[in-house]
């Protein structure tokens, strides 16, 4: 089991929060205080630290950093599994899953998962 440090110590988590802040102009943790907690749950679910999760969505080829289709597909499915595993009302499960998708998106991992209706 990966030992997780406090979420804010990870570069990718700070990148995510900065991305949200810059895009929406509001404090991401005030908007949704559950963000870090749900990300931590997801990392425990996949047994990986957040930086490692994002790293697995990229490959280095011919000196360039490119998207790993396999990595992205793997996490696309894992997010869906994680979302289904969450307790609570469908709306809350969708919010949890979409928070994880947001983490990937603001770290440059293009992801469209369609409407999540819970």
């Amino acid at each position: 089991m990966a030992t997780l440090r406090p979420m804010l110590e990870y570069d990718t988590v700070r990148t995510w929060l900065d991305g949200l802040r810059q895009h929406w102009g509001t404090d991401p943790l005030e908007d949704d205080p559950t963000r870090l907690e749900v990300l931590e749950m997801f990392c425990a679910f996949v047994d990986k630290e957040p930086d490692a999760v994002i790293r697995e969505c990229f490959i280095h080829k011919e000196g360039e950093r490119r998207m790993s289709l396999k990595g992205r597909r793997f996490y696309y499915d894992k997010i869906a599994e994680f979302q289904d595993s969450l307790e609570g009302e469908p709306r809350e499960r969708v919010r949890g899953g979409n928070n994880i998708r947001s983490f990937f998106i603001h770290n440059g991992v293009f992801m469209q998962s369609g409407m999540q209706l819970g």
Binding site: L20, H23, W24, N98, I105, Q112, G114, M115, Q116, L117
Partner: protein
């Protein structure tokens, strides 16, 4: 709606009301508009498969998704798959041109005759095109693009929104029984725009007017007259640019309404 306003309203829409169906009549209007587009050698390359999202089994819809079109496919109730039938010229061997001669469109005043089509146009122009894949596909794709643009504008004229995107040809071919001679072009998602016709504002263009258009040669920019620009603003062809002041709140509300990430 006036033509200029239709052009002004045209923008790639990515948020649709997923629950609102598109009337069959409007779909036909779009198809009719595509059919009447300019068509090189009257070949008739264009083929369109109209797919209703809600008639697709879930696993079929999943197979159709590309990384950049997944949301469009889910949100838009109607999908148009555009193809060029690369067998069109070979099957007809110039007959469509002879039909235009008979209709008084290609006229002897301009050198046209059946004999000209049979003895020169078909063997020395059309048949060689069919044997040159690059030239053939460029010709067909251009024609289909013109028709697609007419369908697109017809959608906006009907109060709809639309967005082109690429699609994975192999699963679509298998799922919708596409003939081997059909060359895939693009897919268009169609529906009612969830953020209204403005949808955040008129999109910016990456090149200036004078950077794109030239006069007399490729070095002399075509000078843009501000009086014409004002006239086009009055005619609603040039509209308020993106982003509109409320766009962020709008997208956030749409994301939450439609279960999309932020």
């Amino acid at each position: 709606m006036e033509f200029k306003e239709v052009i002004g309203r045209r923008r790639s829409i990515r948020h649709f009301f997923p629950w609102r169906p598109v009337e069959r009549e409007k779909i036909q209007i779009m198809l009719e508009a595509a059919r009447l587009a300019s068509c090189a050698v009257n070949a008739g390359f264009l083929r369109i498969i109209v797919v209703e999202r809600d008639k697709l089994p879930r696993e079929t819809l999943e197979k159709l998704k590309t990384p950049v079109s997944a949301n469009n496919l889910e949100l838009a109730p109607i999908h148009f798959y555009f193809y060029a039938d690369m067998g069109a010229i070979e099957r007809t061997k110039g007959q469509p041109l002879k039909d235009l001669v008979d209709a008084g469109i290609l006229t002897p005043s301009h050198g046209w005759s059946h004999k000209f089509v049979d003895e020169l146009v078909w063997p020395f122009i059309l048949e060689p095109i069919t044997k040159d894949p690059g030239r053939h596909s460029m010709t067909a794709a251009f024609d289909c693009g013109v028709a697609m643009s007419q369908a697109l504008l017809a959608a906006f004229d009907e109060g709809l929104g639309a967005c082109f995107s690429a699609f994975f040809p192999d699963p679509v071919k298998e799922l919708f029984q596409v003939p081997d001679t059909w060359m895939p072009i693009w897919m268009m998602a169609v529906g009612y725009p969830a953020a209204g016709w403005e949808d955040g504002g008129q999109r910016p263009r990456p090149v200036t007017f004078e950077g794109q258009f030239f006069e007399g040669n490729a070095k002399t920019p075509f000078s843009r007259d501000p009086k014409v620009v004002e006239k086009l603003k009055e005619a609603k062809m040039i509209t308020a640019p993106a982003p509109l002041p409320w766009r962020k709140e709008e997208v956030r509300a749409l994301s939450r309404m439609l279960g999309l990430p932020e």
